[in-house]
Amino acid sequence: MNDTATATQPKGNGLVGLIPVGIALLLFGWFLSLAPAVAEGQSLRLVWDWVPSLGIAMSFLLDGLSLTFALLISGIGALVLLYSNTYLAGHPQFARFALFLTSFMLAMLGLVLADNLIGLFVFWELTTITSYLLIGFGHDTAKGRRSALQALFVTGAGALALLAGFILLGFSMGSFELSEILAQADALKAHEMYLPILILILAGTFTKSAQFPFHFWLPNAMAAPTPVSAFLHSATMVKAGVYLMARMHPGMAGTDVWFWTLTIAGAFTAVFASILALRQTDLKQALAYTTLMALGTLTLFLGQTSGYAMTAFATFLVVHSLYKASLFLVVGCIDHSTGTREADVLGGLGRVMPVTAFAAGLAALSMAGFPPFLGFIGKELKYAGILAIGSEPFLFAAALLLANALMFAIAGIVALRPFWQRTGIALPRKPHEAPWTMLAGPVILAILGALFGVYPDLLQTSLVDPTVKSLLGSIEDSKELKLWAGVNMPLIMSIATVALGITLYLAHKRLRPALGRLVDASPQFDKGWDKFLLGLKRFAAWQTRIIQPGILRRYIFATFATVLVAIGGTMIARQAMPTLPDLSDVTFQNIALVVLISAGAILTALTSSRIAAMAALGVVGIGVAMIFIVFSAPDVAITQLLVETLVVVLVAVALLRLPVLDENGRDHRPLDAILAGAIGLSVTLVLLAVLETPLDLRLTEYFEVTSWPEAFGRNIVNVILVDFRALDTFGEIAVVVIAALSAYALLRTTHPRKDP
């Protein structure tokens, strides 16, 4: 594990360790003080403008659902932070750890309190990032890095879908405020965008809450230090997806798509995960899979709309957080104390660690669903809720029964055997009882599970009823939490669960090889993930080879092809084809000039003789200069002649030292010729189209009338260059100087080449 400190010398981490605990406690106290108001049915709203121009506000809403989550987050957060202060005592990077964990807690609180879709998304991503950092806290191992990256990719990809879903939702409903969107539930359900929105949002929640087939990242996330697993990957973060589904429930639930998607995904995940859980020998892995099972169950209930299902959801949410966080922390104590988490090695710890054993026992009894624990009430409600399902209740009830029985068996494996079985195998370390800071969390949480079981009213009025009200809109549908509801179907199913659970517990060692074969035969998502990443890398390499071959010609080709599509496509799309041009004013002299230029250009392009190309270039240049002369631009013509002469001279000088043009064979490129011809044609067409439009001469007229009165020049072109646009000319001179200096620098360092 990551803890380097030996337990014999538990050092604190000073203020760094205690401040986060204080923050969490203060928040917990604050939320607790708001609980009575929320229980009376109020909901508190707080709004700050954030990006008003986009209609995005930092708005927060506290109702029953948010409050339940906020209390779980801050309460369990305080205990986990206190716990990790000892668990990671003396760890060189404890300060970093405390910062990550505290940031996560605050982000998570923001997530469950946000009332604005964009705000919610931002907090959602903050939990993704802090989770990544926490899973990768042991970044010196390859496994830690892989797990962290996998969690980031899976949940991050889901978050992108979620963002798209949110934006679609916001624009469809005309508001980014959740409370406003959910108020018009019927309009949302009837909206044509309902299905895309649902799919995108569920993609986000299913990845976050690790529903099948995105479940594989969660067990790997157990690479994180145990307090992190307890906090993020069982009690809080993975429930963010569940939270969001619950939050959207009033607005989106009730349709067939919602019902079938959530019910099937939830039920399948629950059964699938609990079967896998039985196979694990690592206590933490076993708990990780039962967390998947719990998330599946919660999703299953959110698929429904009955009062029983919602009460079951609200109750099981609290039950699970209490016992699961407690058990994770217990496993952390065992690991910390003995140095191992292997179920087959551990045994007989009950005498040495009585308090841990006590907490583990209470939590496990709640998990297994024994009366009088809250887990029992939760289980009864789950059965009542599942029997209220509209279609196929017995199929889903059977699935739930199997999952619960498996959970029963795992509760025994995790919480009983390490403490009471005799293995006779030597432990890596001599066990000892954990210090009180590490026991506080599991003991308090486990006792709460028992307390709420005996006094269910406490939970009913403070959390369950307000949560159900958030989900269904009224408090009447909330069902009563009670230990004894008479002999009914749920009780019979409970008895069946216990019987099946005991059988599975006793047989689990014999079942493991068979389960192993079953799992090996089924598709391996974790390995599939590796293959997917490998494929992605190969695809990236392949497309890089295609798009960036390092061959200059292909880049130029792509550039020109883009130009062609842009120009030609625009012309066709805008129907801007020019009319047939009028060539009546053409004189013989003009034709001669044009033929000269065209012939020179074509010769330059086709010849393989350097001298011919150079001469043809000169012909084009002189031809262009003559056009300038004919059409009243003497200054331009003079410059052109001068420049063309220099061009030819420079090329000639360079050619003295350069090889012939086609030393590697003939230059024959039909494809390039087609592209070149098409571009030339489109340029001609564009120019003809431009010439058909009227010419705006205001600037020219301004220069004509001001040239003499204001600048005292009679050559208007010269006046523009040296007076009106003198700064441009100065820039032009600078360009030429820079080119000359660069050329000089290049030539000066010329020396015989040394390396090939």
Binding site: R545, I551, A605, L658, L661, V690, L691, N715
Partner: protein, 121 residues
């Protein structure tokens, strides 16, 4: 006449694109010279053509007398020609330097920055 020049410009652009796509960077430079010329002509023609009337102001007048050629595109083209020459000169020297250092004029073989190591194609 503008229409005829538009066709000529099309020929110039086509030949210069063809040259710039060549393997030999010397041909690319030829293409560069031609495309500069084409661009200058485009600016010039866009301002419409006037034969035999340079934009000058005769002695004693405050402005040009009668219809004279459009002065604005001429000023722009003058600047463009000089800058185009600067670009050409630098490109020529760069190519020359590349040849003396790399021993080839073929851009496909200039692979100092991205050597053909994992290139399987």
């Amino acid at each position: 006449m503008e229409a005829l020049l538009a066709i000529t410009i099309g020929v110039l652009v086509a030949t210069s694109v063809y040259l710039m796509l060549a393997r030999n960077v010397l041909r690319f430079i030829f293409g560069l010279v031609l495309i500069s010329n084409a661009a200058n002509l485009i600016i010039f023609v866009s301002g419409r053509l006037t034969a035999g009337a340079p934009p000058l102001i005769p002695e004693g007048a405050d402005g040009p007398v009668g219809d004279v050629a459009n002065a604005l595109p001429q000023a722009l083209v003058l600047t463009a020609i000089v800058i185009g020459f600067g670009l050409f000169a630098f490109a020529l020297v760069l190519m020359f330097r590349a040849y003396t250092t790399l021993g080839t004029l073929y851009s496909d073989d200039m692979r100092i920055a991205e050597p053909r190591t994992e290139d399987t194609t």
